[in-house]
Amino acid sequence: MIRVEHINKTFQVARRNSGISEAFKALFHKEYECVKALDDISFTIDEGEMVGYIGPNGAGKSSTIKILSGILTPDSGSCQINGRTPWKERIAHVRDIGVVFGQRSQLWWDVPVIDSFELLRDIYSIPMKKFKENLDELVTLLNLEEIIKTPARQLSLGQRMRCEIGASLIHSPKILFLDEPTIGLDAVSKIAVRNFILDMNKRHKTTVILTTHDMQDIEALTRRIILIGKGKILMDGDLESMKKGSSVDEVVVELYKKYEI
């Protein structure tokens, strides 16, 4: 159960115009602007639910995910996930969650992927038997046999992404945050990853929150979507009822137009 209430978050951003004289001026006086990344965000997500969190670039999707996973502290507002406030009880909280940041890597660069997995086993204190089971399952479903003994730096982006997803699920988390998990995947891997997420959700009742720009991901995985723009939640509802025959991409373009984001 995830309950988010009135979360606000602002960032300070240094801004200046281009050019040498502007850069020189900024040496002595930097101008900061406050950017409101999240503006009074509230929503509730039940256990075992899969939710698509969508919005244009810079809307605040990743910031929300980072707050939910205990990485960022919001300026105000409250958030309860399984009875805990993520940023206050970070260590207890992160034991139960898995996070994939599509544009970052959690694998150790110069050693085989399996070494990273074994480190995670110890970090999360996963019993040996459980670890073997999970590993076997992940290796089969994500098709990792051949790449797991290769150093991460020698994998292609898509191969690495599959390993990243595996790494985030090795401790069987109850909640999974996926921040653009299908970046760089080929069609076959994309479908494999989607099926895998569906499967996890079905069998383990994993709650999934997914941000993506790939509307097929959304269509394949989630029924409910939350639309965010300029830090505000604009819409929270059922995808099917909005579609009425048109494709998801069209629905989203419609929504972006309607809310002028």
């Binding site: 990743s62 110890d122 970090i123």
Partner: protein, 267 residues
Amino acid sequence: MNKYLSFFRLRFIYGFQYRAAALAGIMTQFTWGALEILMFKAFYNADAKAFPMTFSALVSYVWMQQAFLALFMTWILENEIFDIITNGNIAYELCRPVDVYNMWFTRSMANRLSKALLRSMPILLFAVFLPAPYGLRLPDNGKTFSWFLLTMVLGFLTVIAYCMLLYIINFYTISPMGIRMVSVAVVEFFSGAVIPLPFFPKGIREIFEILPFASMQNVPLRIYSGDISGTGLYRAAGLQIFWVILLIVAGKILMTKALKKVVVQGG
């Protein structure tokens, strides 16, 4: 505890991947040590009595310093930790059920130990077999050696606790270059990395010896070469313990503050 151990192990293995770097390191340290000793030899030839340490004590100081460089030099910093902060991968560090300070501390220990293990043996072996007075002397007795080991551990911890502060400052400055350059210059000078502290004039030396930098390589190396003995041992080791605790506490407080305001760079 198990998780930190496992983390230690992986970082340790990681260090073993870079054999060429280790070989280059050994060569550099050996050459550097030889140069330094030859330079001091020229001074000692002029007037051996004008110096606070005997030549053979100084030689031992230099060889041990070069052999265990990886344990004591504050310029051996982990670029990966700076990168984690600068490029925003701190996000992944924070979604693990571990204390970030402890994790980075463990990581630095493993990195330095794996480096030191690879590099110290060849240098020590070679230096022991060099003819007197250019060779590495063994310490006078077992007691001196035990004190050396103890203060070496304390010095090692002081170095890491100090480096942790540099990493944490990077949360505020974003670019690590400035702080690294300043810190390297300052520590080299104050820790006795270039010129051993006994060579500094009285008055200045007493002040230097209280600073945390003197608790790094200065203490174990001088104990090994016999320059610190008797009650001086207790004083030096006590001061080391004081600095280790103070630096760790300061680091932990700063880290907690930094993490509250952390911004994940790069989206």
